[in-house]
């Protein structure tokens, strides 16, 4: 293989080409498996909520209703794609793409198990913030370009919500960065091994709390789903979307939730890390598979929290949402940073 490549592109480039091919394969795998998880996250949500609401949930399509997500996807794909006459068409086309692409791009810096990450960049966390902020553009643009008042209000709400909660989410993770001394997610996971229970959620409990609340707001989920509050704004920013464009918003939202759950699992709950006495005697691939399993359990536990909250709590009002963001979460997150900094200064040897 190497020899053939060397013959084609020359000996200098052969290594790069191999790398590119590996990255492309990894990307394809992550997107395919990621989207599969997104599909079943919707199934999981419907089942969990149904059982909390004295219902049964999907059970007709395939065994236990497991093919329901595919049926939904196919249905949406074949629906008529309606575009309002006075919509700003280029932006209307672009908005769901921005939203979905930014959510998918976030998957590229997540280490799913030890050593497996598409782009192992040293500013992984910052990249995630950037992508989640970019996703907000999709929402704002869709609200703007639909030329519908309900969508417009949804877009406005989303803009202010994302701006407010982006800050508290960023600040909530500063404590983690300080303790790990790195922006790289793999390094953050490894750094947690030195702490009690192997997770940052214990020393960074304040940060974790702020992060969880901000994560709900960032992904527009109850109790902070104001941009799409169906009883107020019909469907919020995607009121005018149908067919596959609607599906892209839908998939983007669930991808966003999975990304947020992954950040929680990686930065606060120890990610794929397992205690050394478990992994020490295992063959490499088995240790990695166990790590992946461990990571997925944490992700889905967090997803379950999303669903649980959704079926339990009512929705906040717009001004209350802002008040929580600015008056409660940001001071808490700032306080957490100060405490972490002081602790790091005083107990230098310990941390």
């Amino acid at each position: 293989m190497n020899d053939i490549l060397k013959a084609i592109v020359g000996p200098e480039l052969a290594g790069d080409v191999v790398n590119i091919i590996i990255i492309l394969l990894k990307t394809a795998a992550v997107i395919a498996v990621g989207l599969l998880h997104v599909a079943f996250a919707t199934y999981f949500e419907r089942k969990v909520m149904a059982h909390m609401q004295v219902r049964l949930g999907p059970r007709e399509v395939g065994p236990l209703g497991l093919f329901q997500p595919f049926a939904d996807g196919i249905k949406l794909f074949f629906k008529e794609d309606i575009i309002p006459q006075n919509a700003d068409k280029p932006l209307f086309y672009l908005a769901p793409v921005i939203f979905f692409a930014s959510a998918l791009t976030s998957l590229s810096v997540l280490p799913f198990f030890d050593g497996f990450v598409v782009g192992n960049i040293n500013i992984g966390l910052l990249f995630l913030f950037a992508m989640s902020s970019l996703g907000a553009y999709g929402i704002v643009l869709s609200g703007w370009s639909s030329n519908s008042k309900y969508a417009f209000l949804g877009g406005l709400r989303s803009a202010s919500q994302v701006i407010s909660y982006e800050i508290s989410m960023g600040l909530s993770l500063v404590g983690v960065m300080m303790m790990a001394g790195s922006f790289n997610l793999s390094d953050i996971v490894r750094a947690q091994n030195h702490y009690p229970l192997g997770i940052f959620a214990v020393p960074q409990f304040l940060g974790f709390f702020v992060f969880v609340v901000a994560a709900f707001a960032e992904t527009n989920r109850l109790p902070f789903d104001l941009p799409e509050a169906e009883s107020e704004l019909v469907a919020g920013y995607f009121t005018e979307y149908s067919g596959f464009r609607f599906a892209m918003f839908f998939l983007g939202e669930y991808t966003g939730m999975l990304v947020m759950s992954s950040i929680a699992a990686l930065c606060f709950l120890g990610g794929w890390a397992l205690p050394a006495f478990v992994t020490a005697n295992l063959p490499g691939f088995l240790a990695k598979a166990l790590g992946l399993f461990c990571f997925l359990i944490k992700v889905y536990a967090f997803m379950f929290l999303y669903y649980w909250v959704r079926s339990t709590l009512p929705r906040y009002r717009y001004d209350q949402l802002m008040a929580i963001g600015w008056k409660l979460l940001i001071p808490l997150a700032l306080g957490n940073i100060v405490i972490t900094g002081l602790a790091k200064m005083w107990f230098k040897g310990l941390l």
């Binding site: 909520m49 909390m52 609401q53 004295v54 219902r55 008042k149 309900y150 209000l153 709400r157 109850l222 109790p223 789903d225 509050a229 169906e230 009883s231 107020e232 704004l233 019909v234 959704r310 079926s311 339990t312 709590l313 009512p314 929705r315 906040y316 009002r317 717009y318 001004d319 209350q320």
Partner: protein, 412 residues
Amino acid sequence: MSAEEYKAGDQNLTERTEPEENTFETTELTISMGPQHPATHGVLRLVLDLDGENVVKCTPYVGYLHRGVEKLGENRTYFAALPLTDRLDYISSMNNNVGYVNAVEKLFGIEAPERAKFIRTIVAEMGRISSHIIWLGTHVLDIGATTPFLHAMAQRERILDLFEMLCGARLTVSYPRVGGVRNDISQEFLDALYEFVLEFPSNMDNYETLVTENRIWKDRTVGIGVISAEEAVNWGLTGGTLRGSGVDYDIRKYAPYDAYDKIEFDVPVGKAGDCYDRYMVRVGELRQANRIIKQCIEKLPAGPVMAEAPKLTLPPKDMILKDMEHLIHQFILITKGPSIAEGEVYVATEVPKGELGFYFVSDGTGKPYRMRVRAPSFVHASVLPRLCKGALIADVIANIGTIDIVLGECDR
């Protein structure tokens, strides 16, 4: 936080500064909420003038479900107009029927036998539970909590099953008759109902666990849509919407009809007149309705279920087929209607939504000269602009839910 404090804070939020010169020119955004909208409980249409999220002006438009029930009633005999009342407030049709037959009986000058009165009380309170529980579910759903809605619908399903067992119909029941009720209730029905009644309080506890003390629920309802007792009376509010403001007015207590004077029950009353108090009042009413049904079942007397007034009440079907007299009465009553004295009558009953009044003017023929329905939903819809003054969009939704309107009754 008291209502006054909250109100004061609210005003700060909605206070608008006058635009200075050379700044942006702003215009109000007018949105049409409804008639097709997930939270307007049917076909209510609100035109909202918005300044950002603040509601500057709210104008309700009604009439999308107008079917001319009052006019139709004037073209039918007193017996044949009964099914029209099912379609007023279609989620508590039993209560409308009871109100209608009470009004007609007063006009005719007849009285239902004791057993029929108890049965009517039972079914009316069942209707109240079914209506209030839908209100609870949808109100909470509007504010964003999905689970109580589905649990409530499961409970309502049991009431509908009981109605089906009783008279064959689930929604548009037409079970009470002028002079009594259509058929006697079976022991099987009573057993099933008693079982429901015994389980109901613990089910209510479940809903309340999710909602009543929920912090977000309180944030969304305490101090929202405040209306003082005096103002509430002036607007003509009735039912839970009035009692939430602290006015102890319940027709079942002040002008008892059917068996309410023989039953012990309390009238829950609020204090602050906000959404939360109205919620608490209706939740209290649910428990009281359950208590009333339980007492009625225990005290249910024996006897006939139709009054002995052959010229004014429809004869039983099996007698028509056997007996000449009954056949003649049936024929006259159905084709021509009963012969009654001239006069007018207004009878109000306490339906889940408030005071439902029927006003008849009789010209001595078998059909009313004028039939008028005093619909609580119509009055309550008119108070929406007052409740939504200075509110946010989300509060408009809470206010629509809290006044508990059904557009079938509002538009008639």
